[in-house]
């Protein structure tokens, strides 16, 4: 995934613009930190997934503030991207914020993101794939906050009722199991209609989003077409449906309400199941391998962003150091189920959660399937303008059974390539 090379090409024009403002990206890390380390008030904008995450962030902010003699105002944004953009446009961004992949390139290009990657901790302590996600032109801009990967969730009651034993490890088994599980109004497998789900099948089939050199998109490859074709085949048999087809907002809702026996979601589903559907007994297994035996999944991540032009960047770096510390990562993981972005801490967390056998009937499933995925996961596309391209693709996945995989992926490729040559 040599994504930075690809981004170099995309960002040439912006680099020129940055030179004009006197904030070239490459030297951003040499900008001296501002403000004092004590007695300052930081603003911290978060995009929380729920009460558990908000409380964990607030507790962390309070603990750091108490230990260092500072104060942190936590702002839980209801529309994060809008509020963060407003902050930057108005010249008063939050000191520390969730750096979402979709905004990363834009912030870097405009010199608004402090190159804090190497200031916060040894870069080598984080997963390489996540580090790469936040590296631009060779500079590691912000440390990954956490990671989430996709895995297969199985409803244990449905599984037993269908007389099934071992979880599927190949596409053929997945198809057969989905068939066995589809009955009485329950669909075998339900997924959200999005590239963020079907992309995992691309990876399992040896496909990807980018070409090997990372210089262009590679959506229309035979591997990807075959992967989408496999999903279409399952959809035609009625054993795979999209969440929209079963009146659910996402796969987890279909799974939690019993409309789906299996779904494909990330580790955020743990928190949702605990809070909204605590009675469902389920297990999490790695996604099945493709025909070539290759494992694949997708990884989603945020980073701890620091505003480059803030008045208290010194204190902000100290705060992020605390947030990204191993002990705090473990606390976050336990509080709301995100995976630590440090492999060492992730293994520790998985070990403490893996003692649950499939049929034990407990409500906390093993998280090792999620942690495993970090080793081979495909990261998201961060190219500016990609969200609209992706939604054009996603909107056509709603009725999977009637798609034309090759045409759809060709369209995605054309639209995405247009972003590279504006």
């Amino acid at each position: 995934m040599k994504r930075w090379q690809f981004k170099t090409i995309a960002g040439l024009s912006a680099a020129a613009a940055m030179l004009a403002t006197g904030v070239p990206a490459a030297t951003a890390s040499k900008v001296p930190l501002t403000g004092k380390l004590h007695g300052v008030t930081l603003t911290f904008m978060i995009a929380s997934s729920g009460t558990a995450e908000t409380n964990a962030d607030k507790a962390a902010a309070a603990a750091w503030g108490k230990a260092t003699g500072n104060k942190v105002n936590v702002i839980n944004a209801s529309n994060f991207q809008l509020q963060l953009t407003e902050g930057f446009a108005g010249g008063s961004p939050p000191d520390v914020f969730y750096g979402q992949t979709g905004m990363f390139e834009n912030l870097v290009k405009n010199g608004e993101l402090l190159a804090s990657g190497s200031l916060v901790g040894p870069p080598g302590a984080f997963y390489p794939s996540l580090r790469q996600e936040f590296t631009y032109n060779g500079t590691f801009y912000c440390v990954p906050k956490d990671s989430s990967t996709l895995a297969l969730e199985i409803n244990v009651a449905d599984w037993k009722a269908a007389g099934l034993t071992n979880p599927p490890t190949t596409w053929a088994q997945l198809e057969a199991d989905a068939k066995a599980l589809t009955k009485n109004g329950v669909t075998g497998l339900v997924i959200s209609p999005s590239l963020d789900r079907v992309g995992a099948f691309f990876a399992e089939n040896g496909g990807s989003y980018m070409n090997a050199k990372g210089t262009n998109f590679a959506f229309n490859t035979p591997q990807n077409v075959a992967a989408l074709g496999f999903l279409k085949k399952m959809a035609q048999q009625g054993v795979l449906k999209t969440s929209a087809q079963v009146d659910s907002g996402w796969g987890g809702e279909a799974f939690g309400t019993g409309k789906a026996a299996m779904t494909i979601e990330g580790n955020w589903i743990i928190g949702a199941m605990q809070s909204t559907y605590p009675k469902i007994n389920y297990e999490v297994v790695p996604l099945p391998a493709g025909p070539s035996g290759k494992h694949g999944t997708l990884v989603f991540t945020n980073c701890w962003g620091i505003a480059a032009n803030g008045k208290n960047t010194a204190a902000a770096v100290s705060f992020v150091k605390y947030l990204a510390s191993p002990a705090q990562q473990l606390r976050f993981a336990n509080a709301f189920g995100v995976m630590p972005s440090r492999p060492a801490v992730a293994r520790q967390w998985a070990a403490s959660h893996s003692a649950t056998p499939v049929a034990s009937g407990t409500q906390t499933p093993s998280v090792s399937a999620f942690v495993q995925g970090d080793a081979y996961a495909l990261p998201q596309v961060a190219t500016l303008g990609f969200p609209t391209v992706q939604s054009a693709f996603d909107s056509q996945l709603t009725s999977l059974a009637s798609i034309d995989p090759a045409a759809l992926l060709q369209q995605l490729q054309t639209n995405a390539e247009a972003l590279l040559h504006p």
Partner: protein, 380 residues
Amino acid sequence: MAQVSEGEGTRDTGALPARVAVAEAARTAQDRRAPARERLGQRKPTGRLRKGENLFGWLFVSPSVAVLLLFLFIPILLALYVSFTNWSGVTNPLSSSVKTVGLANYKLLLNQPGLYQQNFGTAIRNNLYFVVFTVPLQTGLALLLAVVVNNKFLKAKGFFRTVAYFPSVTSSIAITVVFMFLFQGTGVINTLLGFVGIQGPNWLFDTRGVFTLIYNAFGVNNPAALVNHQFLGLNLWGWVAGPSLGMCVIIIMLVWTTSGTFMLFFLAALQQISEDLDEASEIDGATPWQRFRRVTLPMLRPTLVLVLLLGFISTWQVFDQVFLIGPDNPATITPAYYSYQLSFQDSNFGAGAAVAFLLFCLIVFLTVLQRKFIREDLTR
């Protein structure tokens, strides 16, 4: 005007007294207006005193002018500037890092084959059908409701007025959520359809146009003559598709919610009309329909123009229902939503602002056109 001359023509023959009465009434109404206009005209000449008045006039309105300048005109000008730049939203739009790109954003939407043009075309198509269906329906329903609740023989008027007005004062978000439940795949509507053996579609996400379904029923599908010609990234077959099923739901919802508001407009106007007119024409032997068409409707003309104008402008800006029903749902995407999507999802504020100004130009153009059309139509 036509009414008056028609009346004058009939006065000589002495026939059709009802029309005479109407003509008289219309003329009196006009006579009453004319002197007022003259009086206003007389105020024009300026003296020393008048100049002083002007100064104070400006002084008194200056707070609101300042507010308008600050919160309306300056932002509009800034947005116009942004539409010619590559502003990405995370810096000051006037900073030196923002480059002007000329008409590139407009070309991207209008002239350059690709996703932007296609989305923009789809949004315009969706909204066009939305306006074409919503405005006449909401105006017609509002007028009907107003006439019904204005009927002097109707009992419990207050109750019916409240019932008709209730959707208008309810939050559009709440109503949209209710409609989403009604129209979802296994919602109430589809359950009801199921009782009569019809498998309902997934309304909100169905991109198929209503007209397309009708063409298909007659065996017409993807005719080459239409498919091979494109406009704004959509082929002509896409342009004649009619409102998508998703859009139909929003049309029904909008007609239901806004007709109450416009009913109030009509009701106020109806109550301004003197009962004498109605009674006079009744004595003269006019049928109820004639009384409505020849007496009531002409008297409602200013209100009708206003309602149509407001309807046209607001329907071209439909946003919150679209935002809630389906972010990124091509069945219901509209220019207002696409502008938001480009700006805040893609950080492409330049193109987002360009969409807004294209929409602005479209609304101004159609409003001018519509004003001209309606004036001619109603004076016939």
